[in-house]
Amino acid sequence: MKTGLTRRDFLQTSALGGAGLVIAFYLPAKAELHGQGAPPSFQPNAWLQIDPEDNVTIWVGKSEMGQGVRTSLPMIVAEELDADWTRVRVEPALADSRKYGNQLTGGSTSVRTSWEPLRKAGAQARAMLIAAVAQSWGVAPNSCRTESGSVIHEPSGRRAGYGSLVEAAAKLPVPEKPPLKNARDFRIVGQSLPRLDIPGKVDGSARFGIDARAPGMLFAVVARCPVFGGKLAHFDATRAKTVKGVRAVTPITSGVAVVADSTWAAMEGRKALDVTWNEGPHAALTSAEISRRFARLAAGPAAVAREDRAVDAALKRAARTLEAVYEVPFLAHATMEPMNATAYVHRGSCEVWAPTQFPSLAQQVAAKIAGLPPEKVTVHITLLGGGFGRRAEADYVTDAVEASKAVGAPVQVLWTREDDMQHDVYRPASYHVLRAGLDADGRLIAWTHRVVAPSIGAQRGEKVEGGLDTSAVDGAADLPYAIPNLRVDYVMANTAVPTGYWRSVYASQTAFANECFLDEIAAVAGKDPVELRRALLNKSPHHKAVLELVAEKSGWGQPLPAGRFRGLAVHKSFHSFVGEVAEVSLEKDGTPRVHRVVCAIDCGLPVNPAGVASQMQSGIVYGLSAALRGKITISKGRVQQNNFDDYQVLRFDEMPQVEVYIVPSSEPPTGTGEPGLPPIAPAVANAVSAARGQRVRKLPILA
């Protein structure tokens, strides 16, 4: 059976699960209901609209990938608007940076950077609604207040719903500096509100990128050279075209696209494709070679990122010195929804449906291929089945736009799990050399940390001054501990393996090195790991607060059942401070089992506390998968892992009990997507080290 979806049906159903239509289609539909032109509505800025029936529509410019932005960002607007939350509808914005500003969703920035503009957007509307009442009733604006979708004139008790004011408010000037609420008057922000995207995610109606459908749409997979840097040498489509349902076989930048009536037919066609690759100069590359090269480079020159006082002299006079090398592997993102995009290049227009974290990049890439100005490319941001940084790229958009252009029909390109695993942009592998000096009283007087790692920026052609990629020492150079003599430096060690932004980026490596080495120092100095850190954090009160909270809540120092061990780590990343304690035991075969993780976070004012707790759970689980088993290895210039059997991730029966505590704060909100991740690997590694009586210095722990 073929379904008879019309283009209009498609646009309707491709909007956020059940929430409605994109605005371009929403207004005409409403106009039809009213029988004449669009009803008067009030849209003081790009972010919100109020209609005469009291419905508030709020647009979200950031991508929803599980972190809850389609709830938390509207909460900020609704707070300052004093909206009735039950009348709020949320719409995903299209890609339009002129209208919505920077739509890149990454770096745990969404709430932090949207906080001020979205408060202002809501406050503008609220001030104008009050002004509209004041004008029509002839009362002073300051005698009016707002409450849950109504303006109330205090002296008389008269009340007007927002919907009744839209016509008058729309005629008023938009104030540049509207008054903002006092935080103590917040009644939406700070509440654990249910997420608006969840109902559509339990009944199958939520539309992810892979669910985009267009009339006449074809499905494609791409054959790619397995070796990094390899190129297409030759292909013969004859056999592939004998597979029923295969419509076209066409070379594109990333390889050879096999386009068919269904995804399965495309996959079968690809199996039958005769293709030869020119494997290029990296066909002999191995992980062992990369590791040896990192060790060699660690002994050479480095770019200094931070130098406090005279660290070499301090190490020389130290009563005791320690040195340790920490190593972490390349990692894949392995989002549950593999990479995909859908595009239609057609008669001077281009429409893209993409689960993207970076809509403007998708737009630019599509525009270039289609030969159009970016504003002629419509990019629909679908729901993302996980992002974790992978979807800040646009390689999957390139595939779809090129394939559509080649065949002249809407095309969805899907990466199979194997494609996704083998053609990722990987979390860089890295090699860390740390040294410490203790004086005769066991005080930490010197610390050096050399980071040897590929530069994500330099590998993609960004300019890196003086060989110092400052992001590669993120979390290392800003070590919060008060150590008088300190040096952090960096050796750029680029390889042929493409690298990218993986949840928490370089903090996922530096936190592991810092926090494990600190435990080694504590052991040598005969100090408790919490006490050692506490003494070094007097000038870092936020770090100290999460340390103390997590120590208290985890019962640090109190007895554990036999065979259980605790490990702790504290790390600040993306403006948020997180402490975690892991409780671990060893199975009979030595395999660690993580029973409990206690987490404390200071993220400023939590906009949606339940959402913050979910993001901490999420960072912990994602980081635990990596810490225990995550490893991408290279042999013959290609990735050896294929699927979830050889790239194993945490499963249900291994899930520890996770408890999250939020430090009360009235400071502006920071981010939560990434900061929960960096402390988990060192917390678990420290616990496993305690259990084994032997240090864990290399990830994954289950090598």
């Binding site: 059976m1 073929k2 379904t3 979806l5 599980g66 972190q67 809850g68 249910p194 997420r195 969840i198 109902p199 995610k201 339990v202 009944d203 199958g204 109606s205 939520a206 539309r207 992810f208 892979i210 669910d211 499905f219 029923k244 349902g245 009536d261 269904s262 995804t263 399965w264 037919a265 079968e268 392995a334 989002t335 549950m336 929804e337 593999p338 729901l383 089945g385 996980g386 974790f388 899907l414 199979t416 799990r417 979910s614 759970q617 999420s618 912990i620 689980v621 994602y622 998968s625 699927n643 979830f644 059997d645 991730v649 945490l650 499963r651 249900f652 029966d653 899930m655 009990q657 996770v658």
Partner: protein
């Protein structure tokens, strides 16, 4: 080849190669996109559906093997006892990105049909064949317990 299928109590006829996994018949032929592709190897459970009420991985189920068994997908679950599971999923705010949740809910509904009050070990056995990358496992366990408790009332 032509196949007659009963999906969510409705009859469908599809023309497909007999080896075509039911997953792609649902998604690409019938536009029932609630069932997700995750691995294609039966390793992640995102494609989980019911065949005569028992959970099955649709990516490992060639369309020719379905026969006259009744297929239930996430889109049809609300018409069954599975509705209780969906309500529990909302109450516990389980989904994050949500991509794996169709499969998680289908597996949990099949578990509860077989074991109305599952033990933690029965939950482990049923649910460990599925993967969530966002970390919803703890919330899933709570939601299954909630749905089970609801069934006892």
């Amino acid at each position: 080849m032509s196949f007659s299928l009963t999906i969510n109590d409705k009859p469908y006829t599809v023309d497909a190669h007999p080896d075509t996994p039911l997953l792609w018949v649902l998604r690409d032929h019938l536009n029932l996109t609630g069932t997700k592709y995750g691995c294609g190897q039966g390793l992640c459970g995102a494609c989980t559906i019911h065949l005569d009420g028992e959970s099955a991985r649709s990516c490992q189920t060639p369309v020719a093997t379905v026969g006259n068994r009744k297929v239930t997908t996430i889109e049809g679950l609300a018409a069954t006892l599975g509705h209780r599971v969906q309500q529990a999923w909302i109450a516990e705010q389980v989904p994050q990105c949500g991509y794996c949740q169709s499969g998680q809910i289908m597996e949990a509904a099949a578990l509860l049909a077989k074991h109305p009050r599952p033990t933690p070990q029965q939950m482990d056995e049923a649910m460990s064949g599925l993967i969530c990358r966002c970390g919803s496992y703890q919330a899933i366990r709570l939601a299954i317990s909630r749905a089970a408790a609801g069934g006892a009332q």
